[in-house]
Symmetry: C2
């Protein structure tokens, strides 16, 4: 059995306001290409297919197009589960028909215990769930944490084990000891949602979703595939891709296949003058999603607009050494009272935007204040 | 060919705040029963499956359950289109898989021209569409109205006609001369969305959706099925159900099959005293959705609460002969100034609610005013 393990597609996600649909489509095309080239028997998607429980229409269109292409056109079996970002009810629409073409999409806990058998392997598709679901399913009031729930879940799964076959678990949660980054939201504090790695020992391979880095967990037999794209600055140095998994009762072999982004997330560092000079920007991909580290301390008028003229996709600007004279400029209440109205507005503008008003802006401020002054006198 | 024609399910609709899911489920069960008893070859649903473009999770659950039961469990072919209340993209999820079990769900104009052939009949499933879609599809800038669009649509459909077969159009729009009621929202003014009946002459039968009364259109060969339930007071006197259609190249036979609601919409009329007396309310279904016509003119303290204790599902109260002394009570500005604070609040309460404050409410008003008075003095 050879399958491809991916997860955390987060279709419809935006990166600091930038639409990622085109990037997600390009990553998907590479996943499909890998699946075809490597002649996999199935594609495993370990949750968070969508980024939101109520995805936008454009996200639904893209996702539908992807699975149609993968399953109906390329005839690739799909083994998928819902993640914490998905709405299980919205996602499961169509599910009972999907199975006719070997597209298995599990969204409810009770579906997890009927293994999907393909060749010499049994797949247990366990969607993201809350402890309450396990409490109800097992009729066991003691279950309060995912760890407790998982012990029961695994116990019930093993009762369906065929000893002649390899056993794969597909699931979406936080395994103890994993490293997390910024873009996996809502991870609970205190370990209530954490599963100890030993709980998963019964399986020959655990295809995990939830964390976005492929190296989040150090284990031979349980892996996060990571997301196919970088979704936050904290994933800057991660290599993205999918696991190619060869498995049978005797052996497990893993190979990581990289995905090349259309636009990477990169970080650039320098003075404002350096960064907007062609000598610098002609050496990098200006169209990438950029995090800018500025070495200047001086106030730079109209900075963001000037940077955006060179770099259309800035996702953040950081002043590495802070800003000049920030303390010196802090004015006392008495000092404020001495300022002219236009100076007050200009100072407020600078504090909020981090930029001095331009000549034109200063002119507007004066004109508007004069107009207000006129109309006040007219009353 | 024998099929059942229904439309305008509006799953998830609320009636003056009352959830209709249970009523909709019960109506569906009867539709399914009719389909089985009458051994129909297919079920036609002419649009507005959902009430909203983004249905609530509960509505999706119910709808999914319905089509699973109908198509996968009872093996009944379904021929459905999206209506103006549906989001075509959200609805079409799963569509390419549905066809494997003869569930055809068309949501885009371009799907309408490939007839679904069943036995001796060709079905053309034309989803609700806007003129812009026809303008793009036919690459014809002249198309500005649905009437213009429909001429082109029908012309293209007839090119696919098999003369050996009967031709059925399934569509969702307003046919000129139809009578509309209150609950079909967003009907445009000025006839821009209106299709003349003659445009539909090419078809042996037109299964329409959009209007909620089965008699909205006077035609032998084009019918609205109406909604399976009453969705507004204006539908008070409508009989709800589905059409049972027998069709072949030679003949068309129609029979209307009624659906009995769990709770009807009814109107009751009488004085307040009559309506809350057991002699009256024991003669009617108190659990129905009730519109109340009150013959009293006097102000009735706490009227709504008292009525609701008897009738849990009131959707409206109407004073048939207006309210007593409304003009006489209108106070002049000078008159208002003479009122004590508590009298002012009581009068405001009466004007807004149409009820006198109860003794307890009068007490609260006085207490609160005293408290305010105290705290004002304390300043």
């Amino acid at each position: 059995m050879r399958f491809l393990h991916t997860a955390d597609w987060h279709i419809g996600k935006k990166l600091h306001g930038f639409d990622l649909l085109e990037d997600q489509k390009a990553a998907f095309d590479q996943i499909l290409q890998i699946a075809k080239t490597e002649k996999v028997d199935a594609i495993v998607i370990a949750g968070d297919l969508y980024d939101r429980s109520v995805p936008a229409v454009e996200a639904i269109e893209l996702f539908n197009q992807m699975v149609i292409e993968m399953n109906l056109q390329e005839k690739l079996p799909i083994l998928a589960i819902s993640g914490n970002h998905d709405s299980s009810t919205r996602l499961e629409t169509g599910g009972p028909w999907f199975v006719q073409s070997d597209f298995y999409l599990h969204t409810r806990l009770e579906q997890a215990f009927q293994p999907i058998e393909m060749g010499d392997t049994q797949f247990f598709l366990l969607p993201y769930f809350e402890p309450i679901s396990a409490r109800l399913y097992f009729e066991n009031e003691e279950i309060r944490t995912i760890e407790q729930a998982m012990k029961e879940v695994v116990k019930e799964m093993t009762m369906h084990f065929d000893p002649e076959k390899a056993h794969v678990l597909v699931s979406h949660f936080f395994v103890a000891g994993s490293e997390k980054t910024d873009s996996e939201t809502k991870l609970m504090v205190g370990g209530l949602d954490t599963v100890p790695l030993a709980t998963l020992d019964a399986f020959d391979y655990v295809a995990l979703g939830h964390l976005h880095g492929k190296n989040a967990l150090q284990s031979e037999t349980a892996r996060y595939s990571g997301s196919p794209l970088k979704f936050s600055l904290s994933e800057l140095n991660q290599t993205k891709g999918v696991w190619l998994v060869d498995i049978d009762v005797q052996k497990l072999a893993l190979e990581f296949k990289e995905i090349q982004p259309v636009r990477d997330i990169i970080q650039i560092k320098g003075s404002f003058k350096e960064l907007i000079s062609p000598e610098f920007y002609e050496t990098i991909q200006k169209d990438d999603y950029l995090h800018v580290q500025l070495t200047d301390r001086a106030v730079i008028p109209n900075m963001m607009n000037q940077l955006r003229q060179v770099y259309p996709r800035i996702i953040g600007v950081e002043r590495l050494y802070g800003r000049e004279d920030q303390t010196a400029k802090k004015t006392t209440k008495a000092g404020l009272k001495k300022l002219a109205p236009n100076q007050l507005v200009e100072q407020f503008f600078s504090e909020v935007t981090g930029e001095e008003p331009t000549g034109q802006q200063q002119k507007w401020i004066k004109e508007q204040l004069a107009e207000i002054h006129q109309s006040e006198r007219g009353k």
